[in-house]
């Protein structure tokens, strides 16, 4: 059904777009390496080696990215950081996708007073300084992997809900929605069968653009020491650790920072490319 067309259209159109091809390719490559890498490497992310601290990146003994102040292999730790970062990004996006699309579509379709109440609730949540709230939560409930996902998702779904609501309002004026009402389709089914599939384009684009946002928030939390707990790590935590060793072992900062920047840029380019793809003005060409 609709997802099918979307996939076929995406795959044909994607081949034409250089930015999507390139950024998508790099992301897939990074993800594959991050998953396979730790199995290939003889090192583990938590084994310390006090005889081999601050080893420069070298092919000898397979410390490709060198080691840190505790002699842990940076290559494996970086890949683990990539895994965590991507996981955070994906879970946060799914949270924002599910809540945001459902909330926005319902508010937009039902309209009237219910819509007003639902959207004022969103406005109220917007008014909260989320980062401080998250920091507070982290301090109160101890640092918790799950809490990060929830916190980041909770920030992102607000934007998603607004965008989806706007799209829904314009879609529900279309005649196929009237036609669906006339043939007796119930309201919930109109929302999920007629409205949401037509939102997919916008939603996909928006998700790819929120992923970097989620990554940044996670990095920021980790940088403040409120994110992932040692010995586990994320790219943000690695950058944080690298900063303190910057003068002694610059690779500890540079390698995770460059990777983080690459991932962020790739997602941004991917989002831009997808947005062009779904822009109706582009389609007419």
């Amino acid at each position: 059904m609709s997802v099918g067309t979307l996939v076929t259209r995406l795959s044909t159109e994607m081949r034409r777009s250089r930015s999507i091809r390139l950024s998508g390719g790099i992301l897939v490559a990074i993800a594959i390496i991050a998953i396979i890498g730790p199995f290939i490497s003889p090192h583990s992310y938590l084994t310390t080696d006090f005889d081999g601290t601050f080893v420069r990146p070298t092919v000898n003994s397979f410390h490709l990215f060198g080691t840190d102040d505790l002699g842990r292999d940076l290559f494996v730790r970086t890949l683990m950081g990539v895994q965590v970062t991507l996981l955070v990004a994906i879970i946060a996006s799914i949270v924002s996708l599910v809540i945001g699309v459902a909330y926005g579509a319902v508010a937009g379709y039902v309209g009237g007073r219910i819509d007003a109440v639902m959207m004022r609730a969103v406005d109220a949540l917007y008014a909260l300084p989320f980062i401080f709230l998250v920091i507070l939560l982290m301090v109160v409930f101890e640092r918790n992997f799950l809490l990060i996902f929830v916190a980041i998702g909770a920030i992102n779904w607000l934007d998603m809900a607004r965008i989806v609501r706007g799209q829904t309002i314009s879609l529900k004026e279309r005649e196929f929605v009237d036609a669906a009402k006339l043939i007796g389709v119930p309201a919930w089914k109109i929302i999920f069968r007629h409205i949401t599939p037509n939102l997919l384009g916008v939603v996909i684009v928006y998700v790819t653009l929120t992923i970097p946002q989620a990554i940044l928030v996670e990095s920021f939390l980790s940088f403040l020491g409120l994110g992932i707990q040692e010995p586990q790590t994320s790219l943000g935590a690695l950058v944080n650790g690298g900063v303190s060793q910057m003068e002694r072992a610059s690779w500890l900062l540079l390698i995770p920072a460059v990777l983080l920047a690459t991932i962020l840029l790739c997602f941004n380019f991917l989002g831009d490319g997808l947005r062009d793809l779904f822009d109706p003005r582009q389609q007419s060409k």
Binding site: S2, E175, F176, D178, K181, G184, V185, K285
Partner: protein, 591 residues
């Protein structure tokens, strides 16, 4: 030497067949040439290439010779020597062609200043003079209006003023009246002709409507898939078309005016739909927070028998669509009663029981937007049954879809396509199939063929007619096109500003209209016969706003026959032999 010579013009877009293929034609000074063809035949592309307005990715080859110079592909500053001063264009949609943020007069002034047509001091005078020439009432006030404050017809008059302000030698008019009501159309066409004679301007009139060309052009060019299939004097094309496609076009145009359908109107015991005193209104957010009421339909009563077709006609803003949407329950009813087979319909569509919902179906104007772009054709056709008869589709979904597609004249291979892969006509057939799969008692077609080309339109009408014969379906056919009305309907309801003017048998309506408004509508229809010409209803003007309907008979300010009483009393609908008319002078007038 001709004013314009188009030699071997071809236009290509990357990755698709040529939209114009080696086109040759010429336009003499002061001559009016009609360029006709179905949509997608390349009419507009030809116009754009003459004006140098083709999009950047278009590749044009050949020559466009204007008064001896080839201007095809010329740089912008060369073209600007020609635009406005020597040639101009009027587009179909006047709203999108005018800048919404700039006052009308200022827009004309800018053209004059940009092209240094008159000295700065005379700019205002020249613009005012031009607006006066195109027949804008109360010119001083309109001069200071923004485009959205003008009606569609007035906007198109402004566009014509803008196009002719530089006294060009060639005017290209690309479907200049397609977006307008027939009454306004006849006025605009009359205006074009009058100004053309005054300034001796050559005209290239692009249209899909042969009726528009018949009375307005000396010569006709017929395009088909980017190729010129025929070029001859208008009279010759209408009397002896040479090319088979032209023959079909002319035959279709003539048939629509001449061959009324002659089936007898079923007068059944019980009406399938009974409308009594129906009123529909919207609240419109007005200025200063005051919510004003727009009464779209007022006091409308009629009955429809099973198997009958009632056409609803009127200008835009007459309340036709509101009537349709209120019947099916997409709009709330303010007052009055609706009964389906004797049972009263209550509430809007969401609150009606499913058994009632399936009896009332609707086909919309834009076939593409009425089909969900994310659903496959077979899913669209079968969807009504998934709600009403889920058991029936479990076993034989394929056969049901194939059967429905065949019934509406579509290839079964289309079932796995998506709406955007269909043509307009095919999509409309799918929409009809979706409506008919529930076997409704009433099908409402809201301008269902308005967006379609002539031959496709005929096919859809034929389909609806045969469906009606087989199943006793009652049709409510909403349209602004009177030619279609005559072909399909038993009775006609003429609406004006939400009120019924006349409810009549189709033939007596066309032969002996009783209401002055009906007469005006009929006179305004362009007839596809060069010998008949066009009646210009310049005194008719345009419909007033629905927000402020005039007192008494709503039509009286535009009515040539109005007497004192018309402005005071609202006329009741009086019954005559084959017609009911709401006019105080119905008995005495002989229209």
């Amino acid at each position: 030497m001709s004013l314009l010579n188009v030699n071997e013009l071809s236009i290509n877009y990357p990755g698709s067949p040529p939209v114009i293929d080696r086109l040759n034609f010429a336009i003499e000074r002061g001559e009016a040439v009609g360029l006709v063809g179905e949509s997608g035949s390349g009419k507009t592309q030809t116009a754009l290439s003459i004006m140098g307005l083709l999009p950047e990715n278009a590749k044009a080859s050949g020559e466009v010779v204007f008064d001896g110079d080839n201007i095809l592909g010329a740089p912008a500053n060369t073209l600007n020597q020609y635009r406005t001063k020597r040639m101009s264009i009027v587009f179909q949609d006047p709203m999108s062609a005018l800048n919404p943020y700039v006052r009308v007069g200022e827009q004309l002034n800018r053209i004059l200043i940009e092209h240094e047509l008159v000295s700065e001091d005379d700019v205002d005078d020249r613009s005012l003079e031009m607006l006066q020439l195109v027949g804008l009432p109360d010119v001083k006030r309109q001069y200071r209006s923004y485009p959205h404050q003008l009606s569609g017809g007035m906007r198109q008059r402004v566009m014509i003023a803008a196009a002719l302000i530089g006294r060009p030698e060639l005017l290209i008019a690309d479907e200049p009246t397609t977006a307008l009501d027939v009454t306004v159309q006849s006025q605009i066409l009359g205006l074009l002709r009058q100004l053309r004679e005054k300034f001796n301007t050559a005209l290239l009139l692009i249209t899909h409507d042969l009726g528009v060309v018949a009375g307005n052009c000396d010569r006709m060019l017929v395009l088909k898939n980017g190729e010129l299939v025929e070029s001859a004097p208008t009279r010759e094309i209408f009397t002896a078309p040479a090319h088979p496609d032209t023959k079909a076009m002319v035959a279709a145009a003539k048939r629509s005016g001449m061959h009324p359908h002659t089936r007898k109107r079923p007068t059944d015991e019980q009406p399938v739909l009974d409308i009594a005193g129906l009123a529909v209104s919207y609240s419109v957010p007005g200025e200063r927070r005051s919510r004003r009421k727009l009464e779209a339909v007022r006091g409308l009563s009629m009955t429809i028998a099973p198997g009958e077709t009632v056409a609803v006609v009127g200008e835009s803003g007459s309340g036709k669509t509101s009537l349709a949407r209120a019947i099916v329950g997409l709009l709330p009813i303010q007052d009055g009663k609706l009964s389906l087979s004797g049972k009263q319909l209550k509430g809007q569509v969401e609150s009606r029981p499913n058994a009632v919902r399936r009896e009332l179906q609707m086909v919309f104007q834009d076939p593409v937007s009425s089909l969900n772009p994310a659903m496959r054709i077979d899913e669209i056709i079968i969807e009504p049954l998934t709600i009403h008869e889920p058991d029936r589709i479990k076993a034989n979904k394929r056969e049901l879809v194939t059967g429905m597609l065949q019934r509406v004249g579509l290839d079964e291979r289309l079932s796995r396509r998506y709406p955007h892969e269909l043509s307009g006509g095919q999509a409309q057939r799918v929409a009809i199939a979706r409506a008919l799969v529930l076997k409704p008692k009433i099908l409402i077609c809201d301008e269902a063929v308005a967006a379609l080309d002539g031959s496709v339109r005929e096919g859809i009408l034929e389909l609806l007619r045969s469906e009606q014969e087989q199943s006793g379906l009652a049709l409510i056919f909403i349209t602004h096109d009177l030619a279609t009305v005559r072909q399909i309907s038993h009775r006609v309801l003429v609406m004006y500003l939400g009120r019924v003017c006349e409810l009549s048998d189709t033939e007596s309506l066309f032969m002996r209209p009783k209401h002055p408004y009906t007469k005006a509508l009929l006179d305004a229809v362009p007839i596809a016969d060069p010998d008949v010409g066009i009646v210009v209803l310049s005194e008719l003007g345009e419909a007033p706003s629905m927000m402020k309907p005039p007192p008494g008979c709503v039509f009286h300010p535009r009515c040539t026959y109005s007497v004192l009483r018309c402005g005071d009393d609202l006329p009741e609908l009086q019954d005559f032999d084959k017609t009911s008319v709401a006019c105080h002078r119905a008995t005495e007038l002989d229209l």
